[in-house]
Symmetry: C3
Subunit: 201 residues, 3 copies
């Protein structure tokens, strides 16, 4: 299992959990929960592949969908144990941060493999990371978290930069992807913990 | 006229009617009605073609757009005769079921022709079927029907499976597409008639 | 600098201003303002390039992003001087009309270069023009302006027709693009000034 597969599985499960719990919080029924979980998991990667002109991984094999379904099942089990409003529950925020980090890494890897410029790699990492959660919010007709929180897209963006810097040091892309994911995850968690934010205009 | 063209025309008219009546229900003016009708009709197919890397049919010729406009005109005439809330009117639900069935068939045909795996064919059929109506709901800032109703994406998904099973029996794809459409339409109508649903989480 | 580059820069700045001011009006903080400004600026062109099967310009170089950021900075400075509700402020409407016109021209140029039919050129011009503003509205969970106003997509559509007619007269595409932009801008401003509208259904 290379870094892409590892990050992909982690990201798919994490975002399937996030999407499912957001749907349960919005009082959708079991099927709506499953659909939103799957779409949240597959959304970012499908956008990533379409942007670089590939047939999306989600259409090529059952692998991604199967992993997403595991995440949905996990979320359904979890949701019966979580008290209070699911939307802001620490378990959801943590899972979301993990998904953000993992998908930033897959975006950086695909962009790098597709021969994009360093800049393109950074942007693709950011879009892949924020794509799934934004889709979930849009489908629930909420302003996406990427617009509401300062340190959501930002960690992903700097994660892309970290990926590029590390590869420039001669480190292989697989290791660089793991460093990128670690950076995104820790930055996002610090931002949540200390409520980092920027002033309003 | 092969199965693709037939299903395409049926689906375009049906979804143009659905989109237009949803727009009229949301009190948009004539132009908004026409735009939403056209976008609902063309949305699923455009997504379908983009996902398999083709220039969308909606950009290649006036055919799809012209058929969609016929659907819009039909809807405008119809809307003056329908009483009560258009959104849930039986005519809208029927038209929506017809569009769902027809576009599932076109998705299965395009996926099969593009050489996708059986799994990919099923997913493309589902996305093509639910794409137009979801776009309409999103543009009207409503939670899309695909999340609210259990047996909306499900009939399309199983329709894709039926398409694949029938082709495995040696039946030509054109016939398989018609069987798929018939299955989706009847399942969707049964679900509406008997209010099939799954429990909440 | 050819017509594409000129229209692209003008459109990017104009739509970055529009997106940023819409975000400020929705009381997003500085980061949300910047993100929505950038997405509004890059949205239409990214959709345009994806539809004709190219890697989006926004992923290929920092140029588009940098220009969009200039627009965001301009908007932040502007927003401190504008009184009243930003959403309907004349400065926003003017900037939006300029972006609409400039992106219609880039859509027509890319469609023409990609070898689309005259019809495809017109549709691509229209989608490119209305894409950014529609994305901004969707992300703020509002019914997009393209559905609410009759003479928003219409000027772009006829601008595409004008582009095609002018090239048929033997005029080079760069000049045709400028004529197209001039037509869209003046038609949109006239529609705003005289409150052109169509009857409700």
């Amino acid at each position: 299992m290379d870094a892409f597969d590892l990050m992909n599985v982690v990201g798919l499960v994490a975002f399937a959990v996030v999407g499912s719990l957001k749907a349960a919080d919005a009082e959708l029924d079991l099927f709506g929960v499953a659909v939103l979980g799957v779409l949240t998991a597959l959304g970012g990667g499908t956008m990533r592949d379409t942007l670089v002109g590939r047939t999306p991984a989600s259409l090529q094999s059952m692998a991604d969908m199967s992993v997403a379904v595991v995440g949905v099942v996990l979320a359904v089990v979890l949701s019966r144990r979580l008290a209070g409003r699911l939307r802001d529950h620490p378990a959801v925020l943590l899972s979301d941060a993990v998904g953000l980090a993992a998908f930033a890494a897959t975006g950086a890897l695909v962009g790098s493999e597709a021969g994009l410029s360093p800049y393109g790699v950074v942007i693709l990492a950011t879009l892949t990371a924020v794509g799934g959660g934004s889709l979930a919010d849009l489908l629930l007709t909420r302003v996406p978290v990427v617009l509401r929180e300062d340190f959501y897209a930002t960690p992903a963006l700097f994660g892309g930069v970290v990926f590029w810097l590390v590869t420039q040091l001669g480190v292989v892309v697989d290791t660089a992807a793991l460093v990128c994911a670690g950076f995104v995850l820790s930055t996002r968690l610090l931002a949540l913990r200390y409520e980092w934010e920027l002033p309003r205009v």
